[in-house]
């Protein structure tokens, strides 16, 4: 629903993402503010925000795969690991420039993703999720395996050199933050526009009804594989950022639980909406920070008998929140906000909002 007084008089204005001057102004202001944060935010929050930006890039990929195409991947953190390891191996063992590795990381993750997307030739729904679960385990096993440790570094992993750009050192917290946010904005722009291409519409058709999509002439296998490939490209880029923000990769950084939380973020944010990804990641991540920084230490002091394992309370609460969202608000925060917006725009005539 458009705000009062705004009418679409041209086709272009109907398909535009930003329709009014106010929206342009707010977007510009938001981006400028994002880049001004390093000036006043403390280090701890800066690194957390960098992490959030990286996760947003990964989850945007999952959004293309899950939110648009309806295929669930619970191996997304492993595809991120492929991207991270690609840059770590190529820069440390072969001395490539990290910037040249960015497309290589993305492609490597995309190609590995294609392998585990192959079962979608015959299958649909949760079978594919099981294949990606197996994929997560197989990838992480390969990274840990002793026989490959001359390449991957085994359990210990690999260190990376700090990132530089033409003599400019990018390894400080604020520089990394700006880089991550810039990549995040570009990724969001691409993800939003994928939704508006022919491929994006095909994805949505497959999500909504596979058989109907096939009958309408959409090659299911090709588009599912494409969705897998695109989703894993994003994961590869996120892995590249992750490797440079940590300056070390090891297999334990990419846990199965992380992949499950990525799916949870999509659900909390709202299936199939790009802005939902931002809400979902921010919500679940802030919940985690709040739990680990404030609630669990307090809980550990209250109940000393479980002080050692009290950190799992974070996982329990996050899991319950995801389940609650699925049961009570399955369309996520995005839809709740949309409802609020419609209510506000129609305010005295709320009964119109049907």
């Amino acid at each position: 629903m458009l705000p009062g007084g705004v009418f679409n008089t041209k086709y272009e204005s109907d398909v535009a993402i930003l329709r009014t001057k106010t929206q342009w102004f707010l977007l510009a202001l938001g981006i400028v503010l994002l880049f001004l944060i390093p000036l006043f935010a403390p280090d701890y929050w800066l690194s957390q925000l960098t992490y959030i930006a990286i996760v947003i890039v990964a989850v945007l990929g999952l959004h293309v795969l899950t939110g648009l195409c309806g295929q669930i991947s619970i191996g997304h953190s492993a595809f991120m690991a492929v991207g991270a390891y690609a840059v770590a191996i190529l820069t440390t063992r072969y001395g490539l420039s990290p910037w040249a590795c960015l497309p290589i990381s993305a492609l490597a993750a995309g190609l590995v993703g294609l392998i585990f997307g192959l079962p979608c030739f015959k299958l649909k729904g949760f079978y594919l999720a099981i294949s990606t679960l197996a994929g997560w385990y197989i990838i992480i096993w390969c990274l840990k395996y002793d026989g490959f440790s001359s390449v991957t570094g085994g359990f210990i992993g690999l260190p990376l050199d700090p990132l530089t750009l033409g003599g400019l050192d990018l390894s400080s917290r604020s520089a990394l933050y700006c880089l991550a946010v810039a990549v995040m904005i570009v990724a969001a722009f691409i993800a939003k526009n994928i939704q508006r291409t022919a491929a994006g519409r095909a994805f949505v058709a497959i999500r909504d009804n596979e058989l109907a999509a096939e009958v309408s002439g959409i090659s299911i296998f090709r588009y599912k594989m494409l969705a897998f490939f695109i989703g894993c490209l994003f994961a590869g880029v996120a892995g590249w950022l992750w490797a440079h923000s940590q300056l070390r990769v090891n297999p334990n950084q990419f846990s199965l639980l992380d992949s499950i939380w990525y799916v949870g973020m999509i659900i909390i944010g709202g299936w199939g909406s790009t802005s939902g990804v931002f809400f979902g990641v921010a919500f679940l991540k802030l919940l985690e920070i709040g739990m680990t920084d404030y609630i669990t230490p307090w809980l550990g002091d209250m109940l000393t008998s479980i002080k050692l394992q009290v950190h799992v309370a974070t996982d329990i609460v996050r899991g319950m929140v995801v389940v609650l969202f699925m049961m009570v608000a399955p369309r996520g925060i995005y839809y709740l906000l949309e409802r609020l917006k419609i209510y506000y725009r129609l305010h005295p005539y709320a009964y119109w909002a049907r």
């Binding site: 619970i74 949760f126 385990y137 395996y145 799916v263 394992q309 389940v323």
Partner: protein
Amino acid sequence: MDTFLRALSEGILLGGVYALIALGVVMVFKASKVFNLAHGGVLMFLAYLTWWLLEPKGLPLWVSLLILTAVAVLFGLTLDRFIFRPLIGQTMLVTFIITLVLGFTVIPGVGMLLWGGRPQVMHVFPSGSMTIGPVTFSYTFLFSFIIATAMFLIFVLLFRYTKTGLLMRCVSEDNLISQSLGINVKWIYAISWVVGCLSAAIGAILLGSMFAVNSDLGGLAIVHALPVVLLGGLESIPGAFIGAIFVGLSEVFAGTYVDPHISGFRELMPYILMVLILMFRPHGLFGLRRIERI
């Protein structure tokens, strides 16, 4: 030859236990079309409960078993009433994600919060072993196999020959028509969840005494149940048994013959099986081929 026989017997014994675990997943799927990934989490929780009742509390075995059964039944009823009954009619993907989140984070998390999550040893079966020819069976594995097979048969016979079993098959075919024919569909769903949790309880005792009780037990269980269920086809109970023996055998053979060359290959085996089954025989050996309508 001796190595081969030893691997063969161990594989079959393990397979029997996997069959019982997979049965829990198949039972729930047959009745309510929920692919229950929470099975492993429930199993891990109940394994810690059994250990806690037996070792630190020192209760006799039969009291512990009674408490365990009661908790498993309660668990099944709670899952059914508060999580999955409100979700009847949702797509399979929704329930899949919920069981995923419950089974990998919430339920094992609660177990770890209560009991610490350190590896523990549980003594249920007499220690010692028995030798037939070149092969030595430990009593734990032997008894586990016998109990698992017996329970498997009991569940299958109940499903096949009792009225409740017939009703469960009826509901799995079409819950709306079943309801209009006067079948209490809610009750059937509850029963299927209780049966699922009971099979998890038995699996908890068996796996917990075969390996140590630890926080990875749930993952171990579900990871072996998945290829079994996929190979058996999600609808077939005998298929689950044959699939389980196959998975047990391939795992142990991989452990015996490949592990010396590629260490840790045994743990990788179930996952490789999963991917291969999904690529080449997605409907399993005995599953139904579905015809889709718009």
